[in-house]
Every structure is written in structure tokens, then in C-alpha cells.
């Protein structure tokens, strides 16, 4: 399984760099740590593009000839996406903590990061299932459309806030910070439960479908 992990990791790492480096690089420029919240909003886009490009470069017909089962492949791919999202979440939390300290803003941004990561992981599972059921060509069309719309929305939201508040990245809604802390754990637990449920669905889809063979 390590060969599949190594091969797919390449896309997650390169896309992670692509999406996070510009955000990190602009922090000193703006002198506003709120930029980190933009990085949180990039998570679903980063994860979607990573899944898309790793699937486009995958050769399931070759894998089928090797002593590896669909179940093992699905678990490896899902494990990889989960591992990277947890890593990214941890990096975000670290950056937010360093930037804001123990302030109400910190709580808000942390909740925002958790929320986007939770949504992203379920989205990644959905993309995998979509790819295995309908093929990578269909996935390409849908994900590219989502990426373009996502970019436009993210930029528009930030631009609007930039004009209105003369700052960038002040994105964390107040209600996220004001809610009881337990809901973040529940949110993550629900996302993980959905993720593992979708993983079981993915195994069945992968075993039955010939869309990527």
C-alpha cells in the first residue's frame, strides 16, 4: 500500500503548497493575521483539486492486475485524504493560535477551520465515489466547475470585505465563536462518521463499477 500512498501523496503535497504558500506569504504584506481565515476557505478547493489530479494520474486497470483488493485501495485513499486534512487542520489551528492568542477571534477562526475541514473531508469522500462510479472524465468536469465557482466566490467574499472593512480575511462569523465548545467536537465526530460511512459505500461502488478500468 505504501506505493499507492507515496504516489498519491505527491499530489496532496504539491497542491497543499500551491494553495497555502500564497496565503502564508501575504501575511506580512497585509499585517493582518486574518488572512489565515482565507486559508481555511481554501481547504475544500485544495482537497478537491488534490483528489482530482491524483485520480487523473491513477491507473486502476494496472492496479487490478496486482495483488491488491479494492477494499485496500479505498482504505488507502481515504486514509490519505483524512491524514492530510488532519495535518492541514493542525497547521491552521497552530497559525491561528500564534496569530490571535487566546482571544474571541481565535475561537471564531478555530471554529471556521474546523467547519471547513469537516465539510472538506466529506466532500473528498464524495469525489472519490463519484470518480469510481462515473469515471475520471466526469469527475474532471464537475470538480473544475466547482473549483472555478469556489475561487470566484472566495475572491468575491474577500474583496467585498476588503472594501467594506479595509481589511482582509475577517471572515469568521460571530456565531461560530459564540457557540458552546462541544459543538466543534460533535461536528468533527459527525464528519468522521459520515466519512467512514461513505468509505463503506466507496468499497461497494469500487468493487462493482468498471468506470475507471
Amino acid at each position: 500500500m505504501s506505493a499507492i500512498l507515496r504516489k498519491s501523496s505527491f499530489f496532496f503535497i504539491t497542491h497543499l503548497c500551491t494553495f497555502s504558500v500564497p496565503g502564508l506569504a501575504t501575511i506580512p504584506m497585509w499585517e493582518n493575521p486574518g488572512i489565515i481565515s482565507m486559508m481555511a476557505l481554501w481547504v475544500p478547493l485544495w482537497l478537491s483539486s488534490s483528489v482530482l489530479w491524483s485520480e487523473r494520474q491513477e491507473s486502476y486497470a494496472f492496479l487490478r492486475t496486482l495483488p491488491v483488493t479494492d477494499r485496500q485501495i479505498v482504505r488507502t485513499k481515504f486514509g490519505l485524504a483524512l491524514g492530510f486534512i488532519v495535518l492541514y487542520w493542525a497547521i491552521l489551528i497552530l497559525l491561528i493560535r500564534r496569530s490571535w492568542g487566546a482571544t474571541p477571534e481565535y475561537a471564531g477562526y478555530m471554529a471556521l477551520a474546523s467547519l471547513t475541514c469537516a465539510v472538506s473531508i466529506v466532500l473528498a469522500a464524495f469525489w472519490y465515489i463519484f470518480s469510481w462510479r462515473f469515471g475520471v472524465s466526469a469527475l474532471t468536469v464537475v470538480v473544475i466547475a466547482v473549483l472555478v465557482i469556489g475561487f470566484i466566490v472566495a475572491l468575491a467574499v474577500n474583496l467585498e470585505r476588503l472594501i467594506r472593512t479595509s481589511g482582509i480575511g475577517i471572515l469568521a462569523p460571530r456565531w461560530l465563536a459564540e457557540g458552546p465548545w462541544i459543538y466543534q467536537i460533535l461536528l468533527f465526530a459527525a464528519a468522521l462518521a459520515a466519512y467512514f460511512g461513505l468509505m463503506r459505500v466507496a468499497v461497494r461502488v469500487k468493487e462493482k463499477s468498471e468506470a475507471v478500468l
Binding site: 506505493a3 486497470a61 494496472f62 492486475t65 496486482l66 495483488p67 491488491v68 483488493t69 468493487e207 468498471e210
Partner: protein
């Protein structure tokens, strides 16, 4: 003897084609061939036997094990050569080999690279720059380099020149010569493969129409060459694929033993000659429904 591979009621339905209710038992230690015209379902059957696609219904057991329960274990002991091999096309031959090697328990890198040299395939070359024949050779090298007990090959000699084709067939013969290892090969042409196969199956329009030991098959099917008037008309009527030739005619008979006695006088006078029918003759006759 327990068959090395057996399929029961294997069916695969597509919107425009159905492979119907195939049941086969592949004996250990021999080359078994599946022949049939293009579109007969050979590739679908090979894919099903190697668990490359899911069956609509039916079951396959390899080494007595079911894919549903022991897929990794089974695939570790089989080598599958698809009709159109697929790899990581933007990566090198070496990358693909190392990738595959990481999954096998008994990978023999020395044997693999020796075969690559024999096939004149550069290990640095990216797969997308290989010809179709070279991809097949790469696939054969991979299949023969991890200690497989069973090879399943789909049209392995298609697109190869005559020298390479003979080399591959010799390797298959040698592979199964120890009486333990087995090769299952599909082809739409019998050329060469007919010589090394011990068991032959004919597929046509998604059905298994015939199976036999090759020697037994060629013992029954004969081509009769006869001078005009040397055979009674009713006997000529029983022949199929009757052709005019410079010194008379020839035709195929499906059950030679049934007419042998009636040919005695003609054979003695030299007006009738009997020879083994080629597998091509038999295949064509079966396809035409004679």
C-alpha cells in the same frame, strides 16, 4: 486432479453483448487455449477469470479459492497479461516495475530486467513511448517475474513480429512444462498457439461452443483429400468446407472414426488421403455451424 481454475455459470452482461453461462475447468500443468472469432467474448472471459471485472453472475475459483475471499493471495500467484496493457503511462518502465514489485511477495528483479534486455525494452523509457507490442512484452515480463503458478494471457502475441511471437510461445511452453504451472491463453488466431496448447476451447457469440483435448480433437477432425469419383456422393455430402484442388477435392469430416472403414479402398488405391485438420479449419467449420 483438482483443476487449478474453475468457473461455474459465469455470465457478464453488457448493453450490447452477453457472455453466457460459461463453465470451465482448467487442468493444472498445461497450456489451455481459448479460440474464437473477434467479438466472441474471449477478452471478457479472460478478464473474468483474472478478476479484472466483476461478473454479473457465476463464480470463479483459482487454486480452490474464491476471489471474493482471497483476492490478494490469488493475484499474488497469477500473472495476467491483458490485451491492451495499462500502466502509469507518464512514468518510466522502471517506475512501473518497482511499483508492481512492491505488491508481490516473490518478486524476482533479476529475472525481470533480464527479460527486458531480451525484449530490448529500455527501463528508462516512459510507458507512453512504448509500442503496443512492447507494452505486451512488458506485461509478460511482469507476469513471469513474481513466481506465478498460473498465467492468464489475452491475445499475448497480437501485434508481435514472428520472432517475438515464437519466443513468447516458447516461454509459455516452458512455463507449463514442469507439470505444475499453468497457462491460459486466448487468441483469435491459432498460429503457433495451436501447437503448444494441450486443451482447446472455442468461444462464439458469447458462448462456449466446444472444449476438448487437442489430440482428441485432431483425432476426430480430419481433412480428406480425394480424387473425383473416389468417394460415394453420400460421403462427400457429409464433408464440410469442401474445396476444389488441382488434383481433386478436399473436405473436413468431424467424426473420422465413423467413416474410416468406408475409406479403406480409396486409401489403398491412393485416391484418398487423410490428414489431421488444422485448428484453423476446425475453428472456421465450427464458426460456420457445420
Amino acid at each position: 486432479m483438482t483443476p487449478i481454475l474453475e468457473a461455474q455459470g459465469l455470465t457478464k452482461r453488457y448493453h450490447d453483448f452477453t457472455l453466457k453461462d460459461i463453465s470451465v475447468e482448467i487442468p493444472r500443468g498445461a497450456v489451455t487455449a481459448f479460440f474464437g472469432p473477434t467479438g466472441a467474448g474471449k477478452t471478457t472471459l479472460m478478464k473474468l477469470l483474472a478478476s479484472q471485472i466483476p461478473a454479473t453472475s457465476g463464480e470463479v475459483r483459482v487454486f480452490g479459492l474464491r476471489y471474493e475471499e482471497r483476492e490478494s493471495e490469488i493475484k499474488d500467484r497469477i500473472g495476467y497479461v491483458p490485451q491492451e496493457p495499462v500502466y502509469y503511462r507518464d512514468r518510466s518502465v522502471e517506475f512501473n516495475a518497482r511499483f508492481a514489485a512492491s505488491f508481490y511477495k516473490r518478486w524476482d528483479g533479476g529475472a525481470f530486467y533480464k527479460m527486458l534486455d531480451e525484449f530490448r525494452i529500455s527501463r528508462e523509457k516512459t510507458v507512453k513511448r512504448l509500442s503496443r507490442g512492447q507494452k505486451t512484452l512488458l506485461s509478460i515480463a511482469l507476469a513471469l517475474s513474481h513466481g506465478a503458478d498460473l498465467l492468464i494471457l489475452d491475445e499475448p502475441t497480437a501485434g508481435l513480429d514472428v520472432i517475438l511471437r515464437r519466443m513468447i510461445l516458447e516461454r509459455l511452453r516452458a512455463f507449463a512444462a514442469d507439470g505444475e504451472r499453468t497457462a491460459v491463453v486466448s487468441s483469435h488466431i491459432t498460429d503457433g498457439l495451436g501447437d503448444i496448447a494441450e486443451y482447446v476451447h472455442f468461444l462464439d457469440e458469447g458462448r462456449l461452443t466446444f472444449r476438448s483435448e487437442k489430440d482428441e480433437l485432431q483425432g476426430r477432425w480430419k481433412r480428406i483429400h480425394f480424387k473425383d469419383g473416389a468417394l460415394p456422393p453420400d460421403l462427400v455430402g457429409q464433408l464440410s468446407d469442401v474445396r476444389r484442388q488441382p488434383f481433386g477435392s478436399s473436405g473436413l469430416v468431424q467424426d473420422y472414426s465413423a467413416i474410416r472403414e468406408r475409406l479403406g479402398a480409396g486409401i489403398a488405391s491412393g485416391d484418398v488421403k487423410v490428414e489431421n485438420a488444422t485448428l484453423d479449419d476446425i475453428l472456421i467449420a465450427m464458426h460456420q455451424g457445420d
